[in-house]
Symmetry: C2
DNA sequence: GTCTATACATCGATAGAC
DNA sequence: GTCTATCGATGTATAGAC
C-alpha cells in the first residue's frame, strides 16, 4: 500500500501540471520570438527556472516538446469552436465557423504552422495528440453535414477553401483581415455550387 | 587594365556556374531526404567535393542557400507555366493552369514549402529572388484577367482556392491526386460565383 | 523531481594560409 | 577559391547527489 494520501498526490500532480503549463507558455513565447524551429531548450529552461536536463522530466526530446505544443494548440482550437454559440441557420453557422477558423490561424501564425503545416523535420504527432486533431475534424464534419454537405469530394473542396483562406491570410496579410473578410463570400460560393449540382442531377419536377 | 582575356573570364564564370548548379541540385536532394530545415552544410559540402567552409564562396550563410533555392524553385515554376500551350477558351485555360499549379506543388513538397509557406526562421527572399515570384503572380493575373476576373477581392479568393488545393494535396495525400482532381470543379465554382454576382449587379436588359 | 557536472556529436560561422 | 584549424552554440544524454 502506498504511504501517500490522495491529498499529497493531488497536490504534487497540480504542481507538476502548473509547471507543465508554464513550460508550454514559455515555449510559445520563444517560438513567436525566434521561430518554431529555432526554439532552444537551454533558453527555455532558463525562462522557467530550471536547468536544461530537468526539462527531460516533462518531455523526452525536442520533438516531444513539439508534441506537447501540438496537443496544446489543438485544445485551444477545440475550446474555441466548442464555445461558439450555434446560429439557427446552418449556413450562417458555417460562415461564422469559417471566420472563426481563419481568425484562429491569423492571431497566432506559429500555432497555425505547427497545427496545419507539417514543417518540422522528423515531427509526427503522437497518437494521443492526433486524436485531438481528429476531434476537431469531427466537429467540422458535423457543421458541414448540418448545412447539407457530406459528399467526400465536397468536404475535400471545402477543406481546401478554408485552409487556403487561412494560409493566404497568414502568409500575405498577417494581423490584417484581407482574407477573413472573404469568408462569407467563400461559403456562399461553395454552397451555391453544391446547390447548383444538386439541381443539375435532379431536374425540376423529378422525384427525389 | 585587367590582365585576363574575356575568354578566361567566361571559362571561370562557367565553371563557377556549373558548380553552383551542382550545389543546388544536391541541396534539393538533401532537403527531400532530411527536410528543408535539416539541411547540413557539412553533408552538402561532402556531396559536392568541397570542404564545408568553401561553400561560403557560393553563399553568405545558410539563409543565403535558401535564397538560392527559392530563386531556383521560382525559375522552375516560371519555366513550367510559360511552357504551357494556352487553350483558346480562357476558362478552360484557367482549369489547366490550376491543375498545373497543384501538380507542381505535389511533385515536390519541399519546394512547395519553401516557395509558398514561410517556415524557415529568419528567411526572407532577397529582392532579386522575390522579383521572380512577382513575375509568376503577373502571369497568374493575366490568366485570370483573360477569364474576366480582375477585381482584387476575386483575385484574393482565387489565390486562396488554388493555394488551398495545393496545400491539402501536399499535406494529406502526397503523391496522390485527391485534390488535383478537384481543380476543374473549383474553377467552375469560382467562375460561376463571379458570373452570379455580375448578373446580380447588372440586371437583364440593363446597359453595360 | 531537480540539481551539478560532464560528455558527445553536430551545427553554422570565421580567421588566416596558400 | 579552397584549404586547415578552430570557435561558440546547440541538442542529446548520462551519472550521481540531494
Amino acid at each position: 500500500m502506498a504511504s501517500e494520501t490522495n491529498n499529497q498526490v493531488d497536490r504534487r500532480g497540480r504542481r507538476r501540471e502548473a509547471k507543465r503549463a508554464t513550460i508550454l507558455a514559455e515555449a510559445w513565447r520563444l517560438a513567436h520570438r525566434d521561430g518554431l524551429a529555432a526554439i532552444s531548450l537551454r533558453d527555455l529552461a532558463e525562462r522557467v527556472d530550471l536547468r536544461q536536463p530537468s526539462l527531460y522530466a516533462y518531455f523526452d526530446s525536442k520533438l516531444g516538446l513539439y508534441d506537447l505544443m501540438f496537443a496544446d494548440g489543438n485544445r485551444q482550437l477545440l475550446d474555441l469552436v466548442r464555445s461558439l454559440s450555434l446560429n439557427d441557420n446552418p449556413r450562417e453557422a458555417l460562415v461564422e465557423f469559417v471566420e472563426t477558423l481563419v481568425r484562429f490561424s491569423t492571431v497566432d501564425v506559429v500555432r497555425h504552422q505547427l497545427l496545419f503545416q507539417r514543417t518540422i523535420p522528423g515531427f509526427e504527432p503522437s497518437a494521443g495528440s492526433y486524436a485531438l486533431a481528429l476531434e476537431f475534424y469531427d466537429i467540422a464534419h458535423q457543421r458541414l453535414s448540418a448545412a447539407g454537405v457530406s459528399d467526400s469530394g465536397e468536404v475535400d473542396l471545402f477543406s481546401a477553401l478554408v485552409n487556403g483562406l487561412a494560409h493566404q491570410q497568414v502568409a500575405n496579410d498577417p494581423g490584417g483581415d484581407r482574407w477573413v473578410r472573404l469568408s462569407r463570400r467563400a461559403v456562399d460560393m461553395f454552397l451555391a455550387d453544391v446547390d447548383r449540382r444538386r439541381q443539375g442531377s435532379a431536374p425540376k419536377g423529378a422525384p427525389q
